[in-house]
Symmetry: C2
DNA sequence: AGGCGCTTGTGAAGAGGTGCACAAATCGCG
DNA sequence: CGCGATTTGTGCACCTCTTCACAAGCGCCT
């Protein structure tokens, strides 16, 4: 049930306490807007129109306006949005006003790279601890952090008040690790292992599977190839495809 | 490793001619089904019910049946789906019957890990070439492949018939690299750089942004925290977590 | 052989997301 | 001081995706 609610009117008292209950699709786009806004800010721009920001974020401008309206943003008609203000708004909604501590479990091939990925640090997160089950890896230092044994997790989690757990272990180890994370109170997990995690209600899991992304691309590649291979195949409905078979999900030919 | 050539394939290479024009959401789930099916096959299962497969893939069983029905699969009522047959079907639809060649550009922190990620090789892809713009990195050998300068791209792409390009460069370098990939005929790109790529129509781009995933989790974490701070909302399972949560962020002062 | 339990495949209803098009609001300028 | 150019915010229609519920089909057991 989507309830329309007008989040706090301009003059309302408290500071926008109610989380506006954003559509999930909107939430997923906010970080992209945020990144684009930071770029604009670095360029010295102080305001930006929905059209301009939409182009920078690779989305439709109406969609962007609707997204921003959901979080009760204050654009100025005839002018646009104040870049700095909007950055503050989005960061606040995303809960990025504090730097959240991330625990990374699994310092193998991929985990090693994640531990060194500075995109995390620069966008609101702090990798607070590294874990691995392999004794051979415990003790290794990466980016100033020492890899600890995964059994230390509960102790360290309490000290560092871990907010998010990242799993970069092999698939077989992922579920036990997830259980351990949940046990120490972590309610948000980013899973890079190619498997389905089962977690109690209230725990959010997002999955990133690199091979799956390639397989999706493979499908489209396959489809494109077979389309060009079958010229006019008997005039079936296939050839009657309208304007574009562009993947709606991906970005496509922007501007020019 | 295991390159399952569909064993008892749906007979007739000529069959399955018309690409069924699958819903995008379905395409995105097929790889997950495929992974689950391979697990089942390794366990020796020969058939699986929609319920069972759905559980293994983490989706609703009705959704799974509808997805499979889209690709005209033949389950047996009262029995379920033939695992081997279904694997063959899905691999065929995804275009995984051939092993696609992937070019990886950007062998920095993340790219290095991707180059060594065996999940690609085991799921239908072959990393055929590595590139970087930094002369200091050219010549380095990773996983049996020598890093070449990005200017070699056009020559190598022709030799290896690259099907998919993976961009793991810094954001600033991503667009030029994408242009080069497009120029040599690549029509599918997986972009790890945190920026929007502009490509001509007909080129598919999928983006993976690791920081964005964390930011989305951060939002939910933020929301959950503010909910527990608010009056009773009915829900409950949240408070029953063992171990107790440590991370509670009280603040959410917005604006100004 | 016939009935029974199980499972698929799908129609239909509902939820959610998207994009157009336009009214409302604001600024700058003559 | 009012007008026009500009841009936001949003109602509405469309579309995709999800989920339910159930008839049809299949194999097994008696």
């Amino acid at each position: 049930m989507s309830q329309h609610r007008h989040p706090g009117a301009p003059g309302s008292a408290g500071a926008v306490p109610a989380l506006p209950d954003l559509p999930e699709a909107t939430v997923a786009r906010l970080p992209e807007y945020l990144r684009a806004l930071h770029n604009l800010a670095d360029s010295g721009d102080e305001t930006v129109s929905s059209e301009g920001l939409a182009a920078a974020a690779g989305v439709n401008s109406a969609k962007l306006r609707k997204d921003l309206s959901h979080l009760g943003s204050y654009g100025t008609r005839g002018v646009g949005y104040d870049v700095a203000l909007l950055i503050g708004q989005i960061e606040s909604v995303l809960g990025l006003t504090q730097r959240r501590a991330v625990a990374l479990v699994g310092v193998g091939n991929l985990g090693h790279a994640l531990a060194g990925y500075d995109g995390f640090a620069s966008r609101g997160f702090r990798i607070a601890a590294l874990f691995d089950a392999d004794p051979a890896r415990v003790g290794e230092e990466i980016n100033g952090l020492v890899v600890q044994h995964v059994d230390e997790l509960s102790r360290v989690a309490a000290e560092e008040s871990i907010a998010i757990g990242v799993i970069a272990t092999p698939a077989a180890a992922a579920q036990p690790v997830a259980d351990q994370l949940v046990a120490v109170g972590v309610t948000s997990i980013l899973n890079f292992a190619p498997c389905v995690l089962s977690v109690p209600e209230g725990v959010d899991v997002r999955k990133v599977d690199l091979a799956i992304e390639l397989q999706i691309l493979s499908f489209h590649e396959h489809r494109k190839a077979s389309l060009t291979a079958l010229p006019a195949a008997g005039g079936s409905a296939l050839t009657a495809l309208p304007g574009g078979l562009a993947a709606s999900d991906s970005q496509e030919a922007i501007g020019t």
